[in-house]
Symmetry: C2
Subunit: 243 residues, 2 copies
């Protein structure tokens, strides 16, 4: 049974793969080179666009890894579970991010939409054979994997060695940087995930998240117009305490 709805095949011919660097200024790096029209066409020919509602699963850790996805709109969380229900959110994904890439038979993590999301879905086998013919695409994937690996190492530093306050400050700055990459210029960060998701991302509890945000607010480093909207009023101070 499919958990998502198929929106439309062969959608608008816009760029379907967006490398993070694409929007961060490093456009001239070889790994960021976009595909040409013909290559884009071939990529689009094997893909399907899907739309997923909020809180809906995109795939599960144990599912056979038959598809690879590229997020084009919305926000997604990826996470792993222990048998007793403990959860670790390993990442929040935004437009331009890739998910589902693995060399095993099953996905290495579960993915769930935070808000209504649009994704490009590529059959894995067909994408892999396309990779044989489009080395530029493979280079792009390698670049994205390196990027993710670096982010994962930063997260290990955070989880292994930072205090609760440092984690929360780091998280707010990361979300701010991510928003900037998405074209959001001001310092108002919107958080599409709830407190539980943040807690499971930072290796803390909801209570600690709530208390720590409260402290930062009391010190005047942030403002909270609403629970999911945070204004970083003193970004420099946040950077100092982010470890």
């Amino acid at each position: 049974m499919s958990r998502f709805t198929i929106a439309n095949r062969n959608p608008a011919p816009q760029r379907v793969l967006v490398h993070p660097c694409d929007t961060c200024g490093a456009r001239d790096h070889s790994a960021c080179a976009s595909l040409n029209d013909e290559e884009q066409r071939r990529l689009v020919s094997i893909m399907t666009t899907i739309e997923v509602g909020p809180q809906r699963a995109i795939f599960n850790e144990t599912d056979p890894a038959d598809h690879v996805f590229s997020l084009t709109a919305g926000a997604v969380k990826i996470f792993k579970l222990l048998s007793d229900g403990r959860r670790q959110v390993t990442g929040f994904l935004f437009p331009g991010d890739f998910l589902g890439l693995t060399h095993n038979e099953a996905y290495a993590y579960s993915a769930e939409a935070l808000t209504t999301s649009r994704l490009c879905r590529f059959p894995r086998r067909r994408l892999e054979s396309l990779l044989d013919e489009l080395p530029k695409l493979e280079r792009q994937l390698l670049g994205m994997a390196s990027h993710e690996l670096a982010a994962a190492q930063d997260q290990m530093m955070l989880l292994g060695r930072k205090s609760a306050r440092e984690r929360v400050a780091s998280f707010l700055l990361l979300m701010s940087a991510t928003a900037a990459r998405q074209g959001n210029t001001d310092d108002k960060v919107s958080l599409p995930m709830n407190r539980g998701d943040i807690a499971d991302y930072l290796g803390l509890t909801v209570e600690t998240i709530s208390r720590t945000l409260g402290q930062l607010k009391a010190k005047g480093l942030i403002q909270m117009p609403s629970e999911k909207q945070i204004l970083l009023t003193r970004k420099g101070a946040l950077e100092e305490i982010s470890g």
Copy 2:
């Protein structure tokens, strides 16, 4: 000033890149396909073999990322530092592992030899241009990056949500699996790193590592012929408590 000694150029024509899957049974997977003789020759032509003594740095987090390395003998730790000296070991590397791959100008982490180690060193620019001509090699790198990413996510789960005992048990099992991949058949795991390195890998302190190993020994799950040799006498029990 170079921190390592150059052992010999154009060393023995053995395989210089070994994908993890190469020794874990999945030899027929496309990403694990070895290069042919001619391709091996071209790879070897741009590389230098170096030898690094124990506790010696291979590169630092801030160094310009001019080279990529492949470990062929010994053991290496990679880690990140915070400004106040807190340290997170993000991985232990063994023969067949790759290090130094990044898309930034500087390395994302520091690397240091645990024991005398032999590495193949590839000038990054030349390797990148070689990648354009050897798509099989690029596929191999992508496979290794995916592998590492999955391992990083497991480690995030460990650091964010597991107890000290679960972390130590997971670590011992990981080292055992790694030893098996290296061809070590028995259940005697040798630990080339010291307690401080293990602590910084698991997000704990040396005291907690020592106490937890002591508990496991007292319960008869492990034996310690020496500080750096651990016998997993009841691997099943370790798996149960590893979370």
